[in-house]
């Protein structure tokens, strides 16, 4: 298996696509059962491969691991350069973890063009994994754009009533942002050539660039804006979020889950991998702007979610709110905040993914997503209610669930950097509870008014199997977050090393060391052991 060690990431990335291509050749059968099973096996195998990766991953180092480097377009210094570190490993795991769930969840939802549907899902997985594992900025862009294609079709073909509008909007919105990023990327590659005399698009090389960074519209500032625009759209950050509600609502359940679960993370990951380490001075310059936007997104998303009549739209706006946390955590630029952000990305993938699945399940039964059509569902679907409740709690960040760890760390990190941002963002904790519980009440509680709801069937075994891993993870991640932190601590430290400007230009960064400078006498008491 030596070859596997050196080519593990390639195998991981392209396995789903290859598997999907084979799947296209399977007989359609009556309702595509063969294809469905085939795809499920494929995603499970991918998950297994990623487990191998995780098992061999060394959390103690910030270096890239499992690196592969082959010339791809040597003329421009673009290489097929793969590797993982602590920033990406969990996002990879999240992707491979969610995909079998998505596939299994879509078994009954898809009736038309089954083959294409599952092929696109698998292709999408390759695109997402590719974006996470690549260390070449250009290759990243390729995967980044490539992802749009399957998603576009998933929304456009299997979506709801306004699917075409939503698909177009999704595609073009994202494209506008990423194209400017492409220009900025070219500028960086060009700078590398000027400064080092050779072409390169490897991010480790680009990190070494020296770019003028004073002022709002310095070189760094403009480049940062170009990158940030792409990522902010993907995240999506207020006020660039309006594609999301449309895309989410119109997409089929599987699409929504992947969109919320993984695709949005691309934005956060992009900030982590590119925008921050490449332009530290610009980040310091724009820090407060983005923190303010993130805080606005949190509150705004929550408020707008509160008044949505459509469950899916509500969940979509809740994504805006939740991803706002990710942004402020990243821009807090300290270990706690950044770790929290990464963690929050995983949490959001799990809890919002589960929410979309749940919404999809009742949609399949009732063919409506209007909150007002429901009420008292607990009575007829108790198991569903339990699952829904746990997911809701995870979403409102109840301690003991994953959401709490993320939001706690983010708010704490933000507090260290900007107390007012933390206060504003903190109100999201309240409003999050407001919209989630209100929705939960209107859907699940109250009398069973609508006679159509009386015959609803509770979760089938398949559906329970779909939800179970998510529920377990939601709780598990709230109890043992250290398992996750262990693998990313070193990388986060290295990330901050690169991304925080050490000069006086950033008045926030030195605050952490200065506090450390005043040691607390009681700190040594930490190692007190149990007396029983």
């Amino acid at each position: 298996m030596a070859w596997l060690d050196t080519r593990l990431l390639t195998v991981l990335t392209f396995f789903p696509l290859a598997w999907g291509v084979v799947g296209l050749m399977l007989p359609s059968g009556k309702d595509g059962k063969a294809v469905k099973a085939w795809s499920l096996v494929g995603t499970l195998l991918t998950f297994w491969i990623s487990w191998i990766l995780l098992g061999k991953f060394n959390g103690g180092t910030a270096d890239f691991q499992f690196t592969e480097n082959l010339p791809w377009i040597p003329g421009l210094g673009i290489n097929y350069n793969l590797g993982v570190d602590g920033l990406s490993i969990w996002l990879i795991m999240l992707t491979t973890f969610l995909m079998p769930i998505v596939v299994l969840g879509a078994f009954t939802a898809v009736e038309e063009r089954v083959k294409e549907f599952f092929f696109l899902l698998l292709a999408l997985e390759t695109g997402m994994l590719g974006a996470f594992v690549t260390l070449d900025a250009f290759l990243f862009y390729v995967f980044w754009e490539f992802m749009l294609i399957p998603m576009y079709f998933l929304i456009g073909i299997w979506g709801g009533k306004d699917r075409i509008y939503a698909a177009m909007k999704f595609f073009i919105y994202t494209m506008v942002g990423s194209l400017l990023m492409l220009v900025a990327l070219f500028y960086l590659m060009h700078q590398h050539q000027l400064q080092f005399g050779s072409y390169s698009a490897a991010i480790t090389d680009l990190y070494k660039l020296k770019l003028a960074g004073d002022g709002w519209f310095s070189v760094q500032g403009l480049l940062f804006l170009a990158f940030a625009l792409a990522f902010a759209i993907k995240v999506p950050l207020f006020p660039l979020h309006t594609w999301l509600p449309d895309a989410h609502v119109q997409a089929p359940t599987a699409g929504s889950v992947v969109l919320a679960g993984v695709l949005l993370k691309m934005g956060g990951y992009g900030f982590l991998r590119f925008a921050f380490p490449l332009f530290p001075q610009a980040v310091a310059q724009y820090q407060m702007v983005f923190m303010a936007l993130g805080a606005i997104a949190i509150v705004y998303g929550a408020w707008v979610a509160m008044v949505q009549p459509d469950i899916k739209k509500l969940v979509a706006y809740s994504s805006v709110s939740h991803m706002g946390y990710v942004v402020i955590g990243l821009f807090s630029l300290n270990t706690v905040g950044v770790t929290g952000s990464i963690y929050q990305m995983l949490n959001h993938g799990i809890s919002t993914g589960a929410l979309f699945l749940l919404v999809g399940m009742i949609y399949e039964r009732r063919h409506t997503r209007e909150i007002s059509d429901f009420g008292g569902i607990t009575k007829v679907m108790p198991l569903f209610a339990v699952a829904f409740l746990i997911v809701t709690l995870s979403s409102v960040a109840l301690p003991g669930t994953n959401g709490f760890i993320g939001e706690f760390l983010i708010l704490l990190g933000t507090w260290k950097t900007s107390q007012w941002t933390a206060v504003v963002a903190g109100t999201g904790v309240i409003f999050g509870a407001v919209y989630m519980l209100w929705m939960f009440q209107r859907v699940m509680f109250g009398p069973l008014k609508n006679p159509e709801n009386e015959k609803l069937k509770d979760l089938s075994l398949r559906e329970a199997l779909v939800l179970l891993p998510l529920l377990v993870m939601a709780v598990w991640m709230g109890i043992k977050p250290n398992l996750f932190f262990n693998k990313m601590d070193a990388s986060v430290a290295a990330f901050l090393e690169r991304s925080v400007v050490k000069s006086a230009a950033n008045d926030q960064a030195p605050s952490a060391p200065s506090q450390k400078a005043a040691p607390v006498p009681g700190a040594s008491a930490k190692s007190k052991t149990s007396k029983i």
């Binding site: 791809w72 862009y141 390729v142 490539f146 073909i157 494209m175």
Partner: protein, 522 residues
């Protein structure tokens, strides 16, 4: 050679030089693509007259001729620069790669034409013969180092295509397109010629190399006469490639022409025009030898023209429902991107390489798209409106998939050829310091996504309006589409070879004079 004018004799003029009538082996070898093409044209004419079964023989010969030309061109890649015919013609990599491109264009057009012509009742040998002549014109255009040769080749290409555009003689659209094309093309040729006359006056030569030498020696680069001549010559090319505001003929002509011919024009003629444009720009010393003020002014003109071309092409394409016409406007938009390539060529590392790559990608995807349209069109090129595409993915999956790939490619989405082309181009633009035109370009391509994807929407996301009988299928067209899909994806996924090729031709558009022997300078 003595240059005492007072005792000039016949020998001093030395008008007959035997060495011009002999050729080295290399020079002969360099002509092999022409031999394939010309031989093909002549045998096709003969076959058309001699064989009753010309209907199969002529296209077969056509395929042979184009494939042969392409093959022999590939073989010659490492031959080195070959100057022929008193250095009026240069067979170098630049010429050869474009020859391959023209051959692909003609070959694929042939494949997609067969069934189409049957359907239209236009199956005539002249169709193929003229296409081949046109291809010969293109080949001579890119290989020419002499403005008059360029003119003659240009006319050879154009005249053949005028006829092809009007080939559906019973259709007034076709006629109208041909006449419009002819009138405006003729006028543009006249302007181009006027420009070359003025260049001749300013530099004393109509040979590109000598013009360049004159410019570099500072003899002409700054004179207004030269600048005016250059402006007119550039006008001629801007007209041919249809850049703003000289683009207006193009949509009408493209819409009126038979679908395969439109494909041929958008690829072959465009590529030939651009390649020659590059040669001529290099010959004028653009970016390398021109006086600074002239350089700056020409740069400004190209900048504005490129920007407006991109914008106009894309925004008008947004409003189109006829796919042929939409692709025509999209072609204008692509002209804009290509102009960026010319704009930045001299200042970037890849030189004019991005133009080649872009044209290659554009050729592949556009040929594919038009092959699809030719296969789908009903009589009289009807039935290729947007709403006719509804549900195509169910009726003709291959065609729909092909169209999707080509459209994604045109929109520049990875992993397609169009993306590879765009990134090399934009990268060069950034390298040349032209950030803002690049920004305009990328924003325009974002706009373009809308109208490209709209076709996909119809093909994949709508149900067919009526169960309208689909046009008959042709395995040749299918083969052509399939080949183009493969090429589009191949260039997109593994672009390194074509990028290397592109970079290798980048700086050699016009070799310095004095290389490889002297020319009879007059």
């Amino acid at each position: 050679m003595s240059d005492e004018p007072l005792i000039a004799t016949a020998t001093t003029l030395n008008t007959i030089r035997p060495e011009l009538l002999t050729m080295t082996f290399g020079q002969m070898a360099a002509l092999s693509p022409w031999i394939w093409a010309l031989g093909g044209a002549l045998s096709m004419m003969l076959a058309a007259v001699l064989f009753k079964t010309w209907k199969w023989v002529v296209p077969a010969l056509m395929i042979m001729a184009t494939a042969g030309a392409a093959w022999s061109s590939t073989m010659l890649m490492d031959l080195g620069d070959q100057f022929l015919f008193n250095r009026m013609m240069l067979v170098d990599r630049f010429t050869l790669v474009f020859t391959v491109l023209f051959a692909i264009s003609a070959l694929v057009t042939t494949l997609s034409s067969m069934k189409y012509l049957d359907r239209e009742g236009l199956q005539h040998p002249e169709y193929y013969i003229l296409m081949l002549f046109s291809m010969i014109g293109m080949m001579n255009m890119v290989s020419a180092l002499d403005l008059v040769v360029i003119f003659v080749a240009l006319e050879l290409m154009s005249i053949s295509v005028y006829v092809l555009v009007g080939f559906r003689r019973a259709d007034r659209r076709s006629n109208e397109a041909a006449v419009k094309y002819f009138v405006l093309g003729g006028a543009a040729s006249a302007v181009f010629l006027y420009g070359s006359a003025l260049l001749y006056g300013a530099t004393g030569s109509i040979n590109i190399q000598e013009i360049l030498a004159a410019v570099e020696a500072g003899r002409a680069g700054g004179s207004l006469l030269f600048v005016l001549g250059a402006a007119l010559v550039i006008f001629g090319f801007l007209f041919k490639v249809a850049s703003f505001p000289f683009h207006m003929w193009m949509p009408d002509v493209y819409e009126g022409a038979p679908a395969p011919i439109t494909g041929f024009m958008t690829t072959g003629i465009k590529a030939a025009s651009f390649a020659t444009f590059v040669r001529v720009m290099a010959g004028l010393g653009y970016g390398d030898g021109l006086a600074e003020a002239v350089q700056k002014h020409l740069h400004d003109i190209l900048w504005i023209s490129a920007a407006l071309t991109m914008v106009i092409g894309n925004v008008i394409a947004l409003t189109q429902v006829n796919l042929k016409r939409m692709l025509a406007y999209s072609s204008i938009a692509h002209t804009g991107y290509l102009l960026v390539g010319i704009l930045v060529g001299p200042a970037s590392d890849s030189g004019y390489g991005p133009i080649y790559l872009y044209l290659l990608a554009y050729t592949v995807m556009n040929l594919g798209a038009f092959a699809v349209l030719s296969a789908l069109a009903k009589r009289g090129d009807s039935g290729i409106n947007l709403h006719d595409m509804a549900g195509l993915s169910k009726r003709q999956p291959l065609m729909a998939f092909g169209m999707a790939v080509f459209l994604f490619s045109m929109a520049g989405i990875p992993p397609t050829a169009g993306f590879a082309a765009k990134y090399l181009l934009f990268y060069s633009a950034v390298q040349a310091g032209e950030i803002w035109i690049t920004v305009i370009a990328v924003l325009c391509s974002a706009i373009s996504v809308y109208y490209y994807l709209r076709v996909l929407v119809y093909m994949y996301m709508r149900e067919p309006a009526e169960a309208g009988g689909s046009a008959g299928r042709s395995w040749m067209a299918s083969a052509a589409v399939l080949a183009m899909i493969v090429l589009t994806l191949q260039i997109g996924v593994l672009p390194s070879r074509v990028i290397e090729t592109a970079k290798s031709i980048s700086k050699t558009a016009v070799p310095q004079i004095g290389q490889a022997g002297a020319r009879a300078a007059r």
